[in-house]
Structures are given as structure tokens and as C-alpha cells.
């Protein structure tokens, strides 16, 4: 079975759906963050796949974008975690159901 773009995309879509499901269903902020990271990973996978199956796979552009994206995701995760900790310190909870200050 030769790897094709469709397989990669299917895996990526599955990964994204799992991440989304996690982000939507879990009540704990950390888990939501993990879900978001999973969706990000799915996106990165898409990048790599599209690069690999593009007409010019020799240029390292796709890898570059993916690496950047991963770096930003890492920073984002750090910030997200810090936020979660700050929120926890303030509200003594990380349950997002109780964090509804943004309610209009």
C-alpha cells in the first residue's frame, strides 16, 4: 500500500476530530489545552503532507512552516498553561464551566 495524500489527510482529519472532541467535551482546562494541541498537530500533519506531495518536494518550505508552527504551539502551550495556573490561583478551579466571566 503506497502512502497517498488521502491517507495522510484522513489521519490528520481524524486527529483533528479527536482533538476537537477533547476540547469540547472535557471540563478541565488542561485537557482542553491538550485537545487544542492535538488539533494543531493535525494541522501540522496537513502541512507536511501537502509539502511532501507537492510538485516541488525538494524545497524545505513545508518543513520550515511546520517547525515554526510547532515552535509557536509550544509557546502557546506555555502561555496557555501559565494562564490556566493563574486562573486556578485566582478561582481555585480549572473547571471551565465555572469560568463564565465572559458571559455577555
Amino acid at each position: 500500500m503506497t502512502p497517498t495524500l488521502s491517507i495522510f489527510l484522513a489521519v490528520s482529519a481524524a486527529l483533528f476530530c479527536i482533538g476537537l472532541l477533547a476540547a469540547l467535551s472535557r471540563r478541565h482546562a488542561i485537557f482542553i489545552l491538550i485537545g487544542i494541541e492535538m488539533m494543531l498537530a493535525a494541522a501540522n500533519l496537513n502541512f507536511i503532507a501537502f509539502w511532501r506531495f507537492s510538485p516541488e518536494p525538494h524545497q524545505p518550505t513545508g518543513v520550515m512552516v511546520a517547525i515554526f508552527s510547532i515552535a509557536i504551539a509550544a509557546a502557546e502551550a506555555a502561555v496557555g498553561l501559565a494562564l490556566v495556573i493563574a486562573v486556578y490561583r485566582h478561582y481555585r478551579t480549572t473547571n471551565v464551566d465555572q469560568l463564565d466571566k465572559l458571559k455577555g
Binding site: L24, I32, V96, D97, L99, K101, L102, K103, G104
Partner: protein, 657 residues
């Protein structure tokens, strides 16, 4: 000196005027200086008057006028000036002389008054104004002095200002005469328009000289009548005579000054002064204006004589007598010209001053009682006053030969009997003669004869300072009868500028006997009627209705009160009401209209425009509220929404491609 004063006649009124100003600035306590100053001023004025009188005797038709420019307005000069002619000269002497007698008399009469100095200031001022009237050579200047005379009389009548009746009388005098003066004023501006000058004599260009008169043409009659209305006011002619009897509220010397020598004579003098206006275009010696003068004069003379018959106040009787005599003067001006009127004016000036001062002496003797019914028998207590008064009375009644009034009255009756228009005035005047003799006899009997009644019990003769002027005036009265005798009509010749000749036939005319008989009838009737008179008047007993009619002055005051005065008051009130409610009301209505518009536009604003904006806002807020429900604050809801949105976009994309 003599020629200097002829050229500067203005000095004559200036002297008492300056005296008046000085006295006015004196303190109240300087009584002697005040009286001395006033008398000195008057003496100087008299001396100067005689000085200017002498040259007028020497030349027939003497006339010196000095005109100068008062002020220039635009390109025109308003000129006024002084004139010295026989008319002015005799008036000057008469006014100064009578004035002097009254000044001296006042020293005694006003001795106890606290405003003694002020009184003499007013007297001097009055004298100055009156002397000014006489020498004015411009109708305007005459009007100026004329009004000043009015002011002086206002001040003097209201001298006892704490008495409300005096204040009311002063006001009445000022306003009533001013009614006439307004006519005078109109006549003055009319004359100015028509002739272009107000100077009487101006080397042939004056308004009384032929050139000026021709320019007047037909308007002369109207001008003359308007000017006459001024004279009617000042000289107390019907229908403006009502102020004069009330003016008796003033001190008695004032009554003498106003009702004998000066103010009331001013009207007669005015007519005499502008006589050419009246006689302009005369046919047979008659013009419309002169006819009016005659009829007004006759009415006044008879009416006042009748009223005098039923008065009880000694001064009021004399006041009505004055009104009556002034009517007589007007008649004589109307029928006989200047000379006849002025001679009677002069004679009347002396004997009426004599009578008034005599009455003042009586009042002073009777402790300021003025009701003749409370007097009686005074001849014993006040012999000097009695004798002088009797001479005055005889002169006024027209007892012939030795008393001036008789001759002048004779002259008037004579010319009236020849008046071509109507014989009625003559008969009315004859009735007036009887009445005059009658009311004077009545007064004499009540005051001096019979038993002393309440006020006369302890009467005393007045001091010499008061009786001496009486004696002086008696001499004037009798002396005048010599000057005035018709056998030698010197005075009228002097006044008219025609030479007089001595003719004995003139002495006795047919009318002389008629009037002689009438005077005898009057006095006889008086003696018969009032010989036994007591507290109630015999006339009142026999004819109470007539008596009451006359006693109440024919109810003229009341009639005026109910008609003219009531009308003017109502007019004033209506004007005020109109102002407050109609004119101001219109303004307020206009303002309210503006306010109404304001309310209207407020409503449009609030209910229309503003309401629309409000509704929009409410809608937007409602929408916002709905929308805000979506913002649960649940991060996962948002996330879900993002997912759904993305899905929708995907589907849209798929569907579009």
C-alpha cells in the same frame, strides 16, 4: 437818565426780579430786610416807570421799540424786544403804584406769618412778571412773562400750602388758565406762521403794523380768537372764570394784587395790545372776533354780578365783582376800542385794590372772619377803613362826578349804546349797573352798618401801615376822576395818539342820566332790601330757589366737575387701562403666541423626532440582549460555535465548488 431808561425799559421788571431772587436766598428770620428789599425794589420800579411815563406825555403817538435776537435756530433769528408806548407806560405806572400800596399793606397784614420772607419774594416776582408783560414787544416774550405771571399766581394762591383748599385753588387756577393759554399758544404759533414774526412793532414789519397784518389775511380772526382764549383764562371770563373766586384762598394782599392791578388785567391788556389783530378788516368798527369779545364780556359781566348778589364771603363778593368788571372791560374793548377798555382797567385797578385792601383790613380787624353775615356796625370800630371802603364802593357802583369808576363806566355804556350789531348788550349792561350798585350796597350794609354781630364785637382799626395804602389809593381813585372826566378826554387821547380837546358838552350825555337813575335805583333798592337784614339774607327769604342757584355759583363748578373734568379723568383712566390691558395685552399676546409656538415645537421634538430615535435605540438594545444570551461565557460553547461555523463554511465551500 431819562433817555437811558427809555432805551432800557427792561430794567423796570428786572429790579423787582432781582429783589425777589435776593429775598429768596435770605434766611427766614430776616423779615425786615425782606420787606425792605421788596418795597425798595417796587419804589425803584415805580420811579423808573414814572421816568419813562414822562417822555410819552410829550410826544403824541410816542413809541420806542428795542428789538434784539434772542437766539438763532437754523438760518433764522428769533427776535424779541421791549416797547414803550402810552399803553405800556400807563400800565407800568399803575402796576408799580398799586403794587407798592399792596406791598406796604402786606407788611402789616402778613406780620404774623412764619413765611414772611417767602411771601415778599413771591410778591416781587409777581410784580416783575407783570411789568414784563406790559413792556414786551413780542408776542412770545409776552407769553413768557404771561406764564411767569401764572406761576407767580400759582405760588401766591397756594401760599398757605398746608391748607388743602389753598393748594386745590392754586392748582385749579393754574390749570384753568393754562387751558386758555394753550389756545393762546396755538394763536401764537399760527401768528408766527402767517406773519413770519412775533414782534409787535419792528419799524413797519411787525405783526401789528400794516405790512404784517396784510400777510395775515383771513386767518387774523382765528388768531385773534385763539389769543383771546388766553385772555379769557387769565381775565376770568366765562367759561373759564371758575378759578378766580377760588383764588381767594390766597392771602388778601394777593387777592388785591391778582384781582385788582395785575394778573386779571393782563388779559384785558393782551387784547388791547394786539387790538390791531382784532380790528383788522373791520367793517363799521366790527369784526367777528370783536363780536365774540363783546358777547363773552356781556355774559361774564351779568352772570358774575348776579352771583355776587348771593355770596356771603366778603372777598368772594369782590372777586365776582372783579369778574363782572372784567367782562365790562372786554365789552368796552369790543365796542369802543383800546382807550375805553384801558381807562376802565386803570380806574378799576385803583378802586378794586382799594376795596380788596379795605376788605383785608376788615378781615384783619375781625380776626380773619370773612363771612359778612357775622360782621356789622364796623363803621364805629374802623372809621378809616369805613370811609376809604365807602369811596371804593361808590366808585365801583358808578356814583358820578368824583369817582373814577363812574366816568369810565359811563364811557362804556355810551359806546355800547351805539353798537350797531345789537342793542341787547347795552340793556344787559344796564341791568349789570343796577346789580353792581345793589350788591355793593348789600355788602356795605352788612359789614359797616347795623348792629355788630359775632365777629365784629371787638374789632379794631388796623395799624397805619395798612390804612395808609388805603388812603393813598383813595387819592388815586379820586384823582383819576379828574383825568378821566369826559369833558377833557385826555387819557383816551393819550392812548390813541389823538389830541384831546376840552368840551363841556361831552360832560353830560343823555345816557348819563339813564345810568345815574339806575345807580340810584340800585343803591336805593339795596338800602330798602338790606336795611333790616339779619343773619339770613332777605333775598334768601323771598326767593330761596334763586338764591341757592346764585349762592352755588349757578352750579357751574359742579357742571364742570360732572362733564369736562369727569370726562378727562375718565379719559386718563381709560388711557391707563388701555395701556395696561390692550397695548400691553397685545404685546403679551404676541409673546404668548411665541410661547405657544415653543410648546408646539417642543411637542414635535419630543413626540416626533425624539421618539423615533428612542424606539430605534430600544430595538437595538433588545437585539443586543438576545445576542448576549449566546455569549454564555463558556469557552467550549464558543469553541463549538467556531467548529460549527467552520463546518458550515466547509459545506458552503463544497456546495459552491
Amino acid at each position: 437818565m431819562n433817555t437811558w431808561i427809555v432805551d432800557n425799559v427792561w430794567v423796570i421788571p428786572a429790579v423787582p426780579f432781582v429783589a425777589s431772587l435776593v429775598i429768596l436766598s435770605l434766611a427766614k428770620s430776616w423779615r425786615k430786610s425782606a420787606a425792605a428789599l421788596a418795597v425798595i425794589g417796587q419804589v425803584v420800579a415805580l420811579a423808573l416807570s414814572i421816568l419813562v411815563f414822562l417822555p410819552t406825555l410829550q410826544t403824541v403817538g410816542f413809541r420806542v421799540a428795542h428789538n434784539f435776537t434772542w437766539f438763532t435756530f437754523g438760518e433764522q433769528a428769533l427776535r424779541i424786544g421791549w416797547v414803550l408806548d402810552p399803553l405800556a407806560a400807563v400800565m407800568l405806572v399803575m402796576i408799580a403804584l398799586v403794587g407798592l400800596c399792596i406791598f406796604v399793606f402786606s407788611i402789616g397784614y402778613m406780620a404774623g406769618d412764619k413765611d414772611f420772607t417767602r411771601f415778599f419774594a413771591y410778591l416781587s416776582f409777581f410784580s416783575a412778571a407783570m411789568l414784563g408783560v406790559v413792556i414786551a414787544n413780542s408776542l412770545l416774550l409776552l407769553f413768557v412773562y404771561w406764564e411767569l405771571v401764572g406761576l407767580a399766581s400759582y405760588l401766591l394762591i397756594g401760599f398757605w400750602i398746608h391748607k388743602p383748599s389753598a393748594a386745590a385753588a392754586a392748582k385749579k387756577a393754574f390749570i384753568t388758565t393754562r387751558i386758555g393759554d394753550m389756545g393762546f399758544f396755538l394763536g401764537l404759533v399760527w401768528l408766527y406762521r402767517s406773519s413770519g414774526t412775533l414782534l409787535f412793532y419792528d419799524g413797519g414789519n411787525g405783526c401789528l403794523e400794516s405790512a404784517g397784518l396784510v400777510m395775515l389775511g383771513g386767518s387774523a380772526t382765528f388768531i385773534a380768537l385763539l389769543i383771546f382764549s388766553g385772555a379769557v383764562g387769565k381775565s376770568g371770563q366765562f367759561p373759564l372764570h371758575v378759578w378766580l373766586p377760588d383764588a381767594m384762598e390766597g392771602p388778601t394782599p394777593v387777592s388785591a394784587l391778582i384781582h385788582a392791578a395785575t394778573m386779571v388785567a393782563a388779559g384785558v391788556f393782551l387784547v388791547a395790545r394786539v387790538y390791531p389783530l382784532f380790528s383788522f378788516g373791520a367793517i363799521d368798527g366790527m369784526t367777528t372776533s370783536l363780536t365774540v369779545v363783546v358777547w363773552i364780556g356781556v355774559t361774564t359781566a351779568l352772570m358774575a354780578a348776579l352771583i355776587a348778589l348771593a355770596q356771603a364771603d366778603i372777598k368772594r363778593i369782590l372777586a365776582y365783582s372783579t369778574v363782572s368788571q372784567l367782562g365790562l372791560m372786554m365789552v368796552s374793548l369790543g365796542v369802543g376800542g383800546v382807550a375805553a377798555g384801558i381807562t376802565h382797567l386803570l380806574a378799576h385797578g385803583f378802586f378794586k385794590a382799594l376795596l380788596f385792601l379795605g376788605a383785608g383790613s376788615v378781615i384783619h380787624g375781625c380776626h380773619h372772619e370773612q363771612d359778612i353775615r357775622k360782621m356789622g356796625g364796623l363803621q364805629k370800630f374802623m372809621p378809616v377803613t369805613f370811609r376809604t371802603y365807602a369811596i371804593g364802593m361808590m366808585s365801583l357802583s358808578g356814583v358820578p362826578l368824583f369817582f373814577s369808576g363812574a366816568w369810565t363806566k359811563e364811557e362804556i355804556l355810551h359806546s355800547t349804546s351805539h353798537w350797531p350789531k345789537s342793542p341787547v348788550p347795552y340793556y344787559l349792561l344796564l341791568a349789570g349797573v343796577v346789580l353792581t350798585a345793589l350788591y355793593m350796597t348789600r355788602q356795605m350794609i352788612y359789614v359797616f352798618f347795623g348792629k355788630p354781630r359775632a365777629a365784629a364785637r371787638d374789632a379794631q382799626e388796623s395799624p397805619p401801615v395798612m390804612t395808609l395804602p388805603l388812603i393813598a389809593l383813595v387819592f388815586c381813585t379820586i384823582f383819576f376822576s379828574v383825568v378821566l372826566t369826559p369833558a377833557w378826554p385826555w387819557l383816551s387821547g393819550y392812548l390813541t395818539g389823538e389830541p384831546a380837546q376840552f368840551t363841556l358838552e361831552q360832560m353830560i350825555q343823555p345816557t348819563f342820566f339813564v345810568s345815574l337813575a339806575l345807580v340810584a335805583v340800585g343803591i336805593g333798592l339795596g338800602v330798602l332790601m338790606y336795611r333790616k337784614a339779619g343773619q339770613t339774607d332777605p333775598l334768601e327769604q323771598s326767593m330761596p330757589a334763586l338764591f341757592r342757584f346764585l349762592e352755588n355759583k349757578m352750579w357751574l363748578d359742579e357742571i364742570y366737575e360732572w362733564t369736562v373734568i369727569a370726562f378727562s379723568r375718565t379719559a386718563a383712566r381709560v388711557s391707563d387701562w388701555m395701556d395696561r390691558h390692550v397695548w400691553d395685552g397685545l404685546v403679551r399676546a404676541f409673546g404668548e403666541l411665541g410661547q405657544l409656538f415653543g410648546i408646539f415645537s417642543t411637542n414635535v421634538d419630543e413626540r416626533g423626532i425624539n421618539a423615533g430615535v428612542d424606539e430605534t435605540m430600544t430595538g437595538a438594545r433588545g437585539l443586543g440582549r438576545v445576542m448576549s444570551r449566546w455569549h454564555s461565557g463558556q469557552i467550549q460553547t464558543y469553541l463549538g460555535a467556531v467548529a460549527v461555523g467552520m463546518l458550515a463554511l466547509l459545506i458552503l465551500y463544497a456546495w459552491l465548488t
